[in-house]
Each structure stands twice: as C-alpha cells, then as structure tokens.
Symmetry: C2
Subunit: 328 residues, 2 copies
C-alpha cells in the first residue's frame, strides 16, 4: 500500500511557532509548538524546527511520507521564499530553502500568514469552491490574502495584498509604517483599543471600561463589555466595523470577490463587528456590486487554522489538491 | 498556403463605433467606423456591423480568414458576453452572441473598454511581457483594466476593476453613480473641469481661463493653457494628478503591479499630469512597494488603440497569441 502523503504546515509567530502534519483533506494528524526564540539566529530556529518535525513524523510510525513544507511567517515572500526584516524577530534576511536544505529534500513554500490563511480557507474552509475571495486577518494588525481566478494574488513583488496599509483616513492615525491613516490603525485589535481610548477621553458615559487602567485594556475586555451591552464598547466596535466596511467596498471595486472572510482573533467578536462592517460595506458599494458579496467568518474550526493554512500552501505547491488538478 | 487569420476588433462608443481587422502581431489591416445610432434597437446595430465587417473582409480579397470577434463596449460583461444598461445607448440588455449568431459562426468575446485597453497593452503595447499591471483610462470618466498573473481580473461578477468608483474623498464631489467622492469625479476630463471651475470661483488669478465661458471649457483648453504656463491650469492638473496618485498607491497595496499605464485622452497631457501623479503615488506607497512601480504612457501608437484592444480580446479568447500559448 502506498504511504500516506503529508505536508508539514508551519506557522512562525513572533512568540511561538506551531507546526502540524496535515493530509490532503485538511486533517491535522499530529501537531506541536515551540517558542520561536527570535533573538537567536535563524539557523538555530530551523535546526530546532527539524528536530520537532522529525519527532512528529516518528510519532506517526511507518506508512507516512512527508511530501512538502508550507510556512506562514511575517514578511515572508512567496516568490523569493525568503523572510525579510520580520517584526519581533531578529532575523534580517532568511533564505528559507537554504536553511532547510541540510534537513529536507522536498518542495518548500512560504508566504505571509494572511496569504496562508486565504489558502487554508480555499482548500479546507469557508472558501471551498470559490475562485474570487479575500481573507482579512484581524489581529494585532490587519493582513489580507486575495484570491483571484482561483489563485493567490502575489503581484510583481510577491507582496501583494497589503490592505492593512490602504489609507482609510487622510492625515489620520499614525501607523507603525510611518504613514498616517492606514486601515490597520482603525480595524485591528490595536485599532479597536485606540478607538476605545479616544472614546474614553471624550465621553462621560457610564462605561465599565473607565475603571480599567489603560495599560490593561485588551480587545477581549472590550468585547466582553460589548457583550454586556456597554455602550462605549459597542460604539468602538461600530466605528471599527464602519471603517473596515468602507474600505472593503473599495476592495470590491478592485477585484469583485464573491466573499470576504474575516479571520483571526478580533473576527471572533461576531455580530458586534460583523454587523456594522456588513452595513458599511453594502452602503458604500458601487451599484453594480450591491448584493454580490458575502461577508463570512472563517470556516476553519478549532485551533489549527494557521497550521492548516500553511499546509495548504505546501499542498498548493505540490499541485496535488484535487481542486487544483481540476483547475489546471 | 494557409489563409491569414484575422480578428475583428470592435470598439462601441456612445457616438461612433470603430472596427478593424487585426492580425496576431497587432497590425490593423483594414478599418472603418460608423455612427453607433444607439437610439435604434441593438439588432439594427449588429446587422449594420455585419455589413461593414463583411465589406472590410471583401476589401482584403481572398487569402484571409476571420477567426474571432472581440468587442469593447460600455458596461460589457465578459463572463456573460452581454451589454447591460450602457450609458448613452438605448439598449437595455444585449446578448451579444445571440445578436451575432445569424451572421458569424466564430468565437465572440466582449468586455468594457478599459479591459480591452489593458489587453491591447498586454499583447501589443507598453505591457508586453508583464504579468501584473493596471491600465487606467482617463476620458470623460475613469476606467481601469487590471491584469494579474498574466490574466485580466474579471472577478466573480465579470465587472472587477472599477477604480473610477473607489472613494477618493469622504463626502466629496457628487458622482454620476449617486455616491460622493468617487475617484472619477477628480481624475478624469470631467473631474479636471470641475477642479478648474472650483479654482476659477475662488482664485483671483490672471488665468486666461477666466475669459472662457464655463460651458466652453474643455480639458484640451485647460491643457493648452497649462502648456503656456497658466498657473491655474497647472494647479488643476497638479490637483488631478495628486488625487489620482494617492489612490493608485492603494491599488498598488492591493495587487502590487509592475507598471501602471495611463491611457486615453487626458493621459495625452503628458508631464503636467504624469509628474504630480508619479509624485503622489510614490509619496503614498507603503514602504515595501517604494520604487517597484513604473508609471507609463500607453505603448499603442496611432488611432487604432481601441480597435487593437478589442481585437486582443478576440485573440485572447482564441488562445492563439504566442504569449498566451507559452503561459498555458
């Protein structure tokens, strides 16, 4: 009997790195995580990654075969298979293929976490069967993965899909990128907290959030307050969703997706975020696009979304997913 | 000897329709134009089109073969091969294939004029060899054709690429689409005239344009004044280019094109438009895209740009352009 083919999906984060062995139906058969230790050289990281991955493979016994590795990482470039100046990691420039060459002789692909999330939704989640959609990852920042004609949009640089850095407000909030008014300064966990902070400064309301020291404010606390009906918290979500929905309307004018999928921590807020986003999106759509776009939550259940996304990149590279074969 | 294969490229405009027989190298061997007469039923138009096309074919004698028809038309939908509610034409809904079936038994494709222009640049113009670029058509309005991974972006509706209707200014100028602040209310011939009008209202300058009755102001007159150093005219172009460049920076964050090509009447203004557009684009780019995008004029010379673009759609449909064959 032929060996069961698996892809190693790796999600490199600023603090932790998660990895898992995933079959072509999107089942994660074994997973592990380790501290990224981004203050150490990249070579040390990839050596540790190899040890953990080998242990995972060994845990599955014989009868399995590792076919490819897919990596989601901050500032990863698909076209060059590199990581360049990743935030929160000391690695300046990482040639991923060169780092993995001593350990693995199989195809390797890397892209940023938002693109990996989009491939995860395409192959295993809410975007199965769709050819044109956008995934928006709402975490500390705002990332995006754009699929057109059934393929991820990488653009000429390999870095397409930076919707966190379209301008949502001229001369608006200062962004970490050095410019003002970027969408992620409004629509992200950090953006939500800035909005709450602004509202606390200018509202004399009875919000429970007045009692929380500013340094202890988190998106989760704001969400929990909103769930309890706190008006200031609800207003902050409403503003966040409105800013997001408006810019998503511009994105629809660009690529006319069938669906936009909100992914990541802040997306878990549900209706308090989705409702105002959907309203602002629909209100601001150019008429030919009205009623053509669905706003959806991620279709990937459980804690393995990032691993599945990274593994989907490996499967994509192999061209072995049945959907991919049909498309060719 | 095999017959020379040709594609009929048809550019349907609100007033006139141009057509030409184009070989696969982009040479237009014969061309003609006729009034569109959009107040007549579409069936009458296509019957007249057939007569003129047949006369063009006859003029080339034997040894040629019509292989396909490519049509650029306002509100044409590539996926459905329809024209729906075109501005300035009385046709509500046109099924192009059904209209042409009595006359031609060859492949037919249709798309809007901006998409046709993009295919023209891809196959015969400034975008030869590029896989990721955007064409912006600057005429009465602003249209766009977006190419990603070497293919036109149609999106789920067939109507992707409406960059004239991204919001350039919140609560800005009223647009013909019913919304406010759309990019084409600033960056188009009409937008330029609105800017001139605004400036004339609030500037006490010595501009020669003060002497022109408002109803006789045209983009050409403003351009000619700018060429003579008229400060108000130059300021109007500067503002137009700045608004355009800013939004093009957002478009780059979306698809990371290698080039953006300005096409159409207003693009002929040259440096007075290109310089401020290029500056605003570069100033507003997210850092990873700085220095990665060229702003170019159309690479299609002469008066046949629209016909060549429409014919490129036909060649694209046939999959017979050598570039297309290589890509597959």
């Amino acid at each position: 009997m032929a060996n069961l083919g698996l892809v190693l999906g790796v999600d490199i984060g600023g603090t932790n790195t998660a990895m898992g062995l995933v079959d072509r139906e999107g089942c994660c058969l074994a997973s592990a995580s380790m501290p990224t230790q981004g203050d150490q050289p990249a070579a040390v990281f990839f050596q540790r990654l190899h040890v953990r991955a080998q242990a995972l493979l060994d845990s599955l016994g014989t009868g399995v075969e590792l076919l490819a590795i897919g990596i989601g990482a901050p500032n990863a470039n698909y076209l060059k298979c590199t990581i360049e100046n990743p935030p929160n990691l000391s690695w300046e420039f990482v040639d991923i293929q060169a780092e993995l060459a001593p350990y693995f002789d199989i195809p390797v692909a890397a892209t940023n976490d938002a693109n990996a999330a989009a491939l995860g939704e395409l192959h295993f989640g809410a975007a199965r069967g769709l050819r044109d959609f956008i995934v928006i990852t709402l975490g500390t920042g705002l990332g995006s993965g754009i699929v057109v004609n059934g393929e991820l949009l990488y653009g000429s640089t390999g870095l397409a899909g930076e919707l966190g850095h379209v301008i949502a407000e001229e001369d608006g909030r200062l962004c970490g990128c050095g410019r003002r008014g970027c969408l992620e300064t409004y629509a992200s966990a950090t953006g939500l907290l800035r909005t709450v902070s602004d509202l606390l400064d200018c509202r004399d309301s009875a919000s429970e959030l007045h009692a929380v020291p500013r340094t202890e404010l988190t998106a989760r606390r704001v969400f929990e307050a909103a769930q309890r009906g706190d008006e200031l918290a609800l207003e902050a979500f409403e503003f966040t969703g409105t800013m997001l929905g408006r810019k998503l309307a511009d994105a629809v004018a660009f690529s006319s997706p069938e669906a936009i999928i909100l992914f990541g921590g802040l997306a878990g807020a549900g209706p308090v975020l989705f409702d105002p986003t959907r309203k602002a999106l629909e209100d601001n759509l150019f008429r030919v696009f009205k009623g053509t776009v669905k706003l959806l939550p991620s279709g990937i259940q459980g804690g393995h979304a990032a691993i599945l996304g990274a593994s989907a990149l490996g499967w994509d590279k192999l061209g072995k997913l049945s959907q991919h074969v049909e498309h060719r």
